[in-house]
């Protein structure tokens, strides 16, 4: 079956979600990945939106995470303070989806600024909930196009921590163990690996070479000893995915 790059990314991300997990959903591809997982292998996936909606059953594909369609027929709506306070801060969210303009080899993300903070070349939207999510979830999933200007050796600004490098003994963060980070690009899957202490190439997408990945990455990449090829999407996955985005807004 034919499939596009975004379709492969979404399917690969969806497979990272397990039944019964709680996921903080972002709009766009992450939202598609969550809904795909829920309709296939993870019917008990609990979808939380930072807008305060928990257990959503959206009737259409929402443009924003505050869309009215995620409220109607959901299990619960709480305030924004409560969604951070009662769900994220106590470590009740297993998986968080993040994106970013820049990513470094430790999975740290910049969504704040390109250039100097005080004299920005490009002012980006900022943290939103990303920094909070990055501090508090067990597993971070990142879906992003693989480009050299994104995969940089040094971030212009560290908005959201990946590996939580500046670990301080007395710190309070809930998830002190090294947690899982997966970066799903249009070329490969990178994974934060205990053994290497940084992101390593874990899976190459079909027909992609390691050289191609390295060319599009701003640091010297390490590669997993058990490097695999990303399994192709199954028919059922593509079919359901296209049902979810019938007008191809994101696919």
């Amino acid at each position: 079956m034919d499939y596009g790059r975004n379709e492969l990314m979404v399917v690969t991300a969806a497979r990272e979600l397990r039944n019964g997990e709680t996921v903080l959903v972002g709009v766009g591809l992450p939202n598609l990945a969550c809904n795909l997982a829920k309709r296939l292998h993870a019917p008990k996936l609990v979808m939380i939106y930072e807008s305060g909606v928990v257990g959503a059953k959206p009737s259409r594909l929402p443009l924003s995470i505050g869309d009215p369609c995620i409220v109607t027929n959901s299990e619960s709506v709480c305030s924004m303070f409560e969604v951070f306070g009662y769900y994220l801060q106590p470590g009740r969210v297993d998986v968080g989806f993040l994106g970013g303009a820049q990513i470094d080899k430790f999975g740290n993300i910049n969504t704040t600024v390109i250039g100097d903070y005080r004299k920005p070349k490009v002012r980006l939207p900022g943290s939103g909930g990303a920094c909070d999510i990055a501090h508090l979830v067990k597993k971070i999933l990142i879906i992003t196009p693989h480009q050299k200007r994104r995969f940089v050796n040094k971030l212009d600004f560290l908005t959201s921590p990946g590996k939580q490098l500046k670990k301080e003994e007395e710190s309070l963060e809930t998830n002190k163990e090294v947690r899982e980070i997966k970066v799903i690009t249009d070329l490969c899957v990178l994974s934060l690996h205990n053994r290497y202490g940084e992101l390593v190439v874990e899976k190459l997408h079909p027909k992609v070479t390691l050289e191609e990945v390295q060319e599009n990455t701003g640091w010297k990449l390490k590669v997993s000893e058990e490097l695999k090829t990303t399994p192709e999407p199954k028919k059922a996955e593509i079919r359901v995915l296209r049902e979810l985005d019938p007008t191809r807004i994101y696919l």
Binding site: V27, G28, E50, S51, G52, V53, P62, L63, S64, I65, G66, D67, P68, V71, T72, V77, C78, S79, M80, F81, F84, G85, L88, Q89, T112, Y117, P120, K121, V122, R123, P125, G126, S127, G128, G129, A130, C131, D132, A134, H135, L136, F157, L158, T159, S160, P161, Q164, L165, K166, K167, E168, E170, S171, L172, E173, T174
Partner: protein, 304 residues
Amino acid sequence: MDKVMDMKEAIKKFVKDGDVVYIAGFTHLINFSAGHEIIRQKKKRLTLCRPTPDLILDQMIAAGCAQKVVFSWAGNPGVGSLRCFRRAVEQGVPNKIEIEEYTHFGMVARIHAGALNLPFIPLRSNIYSDLPKVNPNIKFIKCPFTHEKVSVVPALKPDVAIVHAQRSDKEGNAQIWGIIGDQKEAAYAAKKVILSVEEIVDEAVIRRDPNRTLIHNLVVDAVVEEPWAAHPSYVQGYYDRDNDFYLEWDKISREPELVEKYLEEWVYSVNDRREYVKKLGVEKIMKLQPKRFYSLPVDYGLYL
């Protein structure tokens, strides 16, 4: 004692040049009507606070109302950049603005602490980020019980909060359903509160379901009955989000001239929200109407 007034009077009475203004609403219930009236009344040097500035602050910044923006995510939700905000930050157009930024949790924790009249509030975030380096208001302290290090942010107490709700009585007891975002905290944190509602209902409607009342009239200074006040944002059960306009704004906001033209046509040349809605037209109004989908009543019991 009567709090019911129109938006013109409410903005005139309660928003002063130089004020710290908090327009509440996360995607839902964003009070564009109040924002437009502030632009029409040419309020200046405002410190505008919102976790998500959204199009309303983009427009107010373009109109020259802002001196400073306090925020956590300045984008066009689901679309991309907030281009007027960026022009002000990157190029000082139409004027330089100061920024003060937090995470979402930091922003809502600040307004939450303001509502509670706490001087500060702890939260488990920020510690591994560069944000505290550029914002001295994000500090760290040691827990007096566990001796862990935890980040703290100060309370935010705006001069004016502007909130929108589905309904209230004429005293301002407001009921909200759908995404409640920061509406309650904003109302309880601010010195003055302008509440607008889709409909003013009889006190008896409110009293039939007191658990639904999110904001009590004690904190409300002005009650404005203003249908469609939130467009192009939305009101759960009343009208849909105008996603087309959010996409269109991405084009408009690329060019200062187009923004100028938009403001001229939809803000300055329009006297009030009623005219704005008329201008929106029947087709748009009908298109944004959801189907009815009612909650079931609950029994409070009458205890005699």
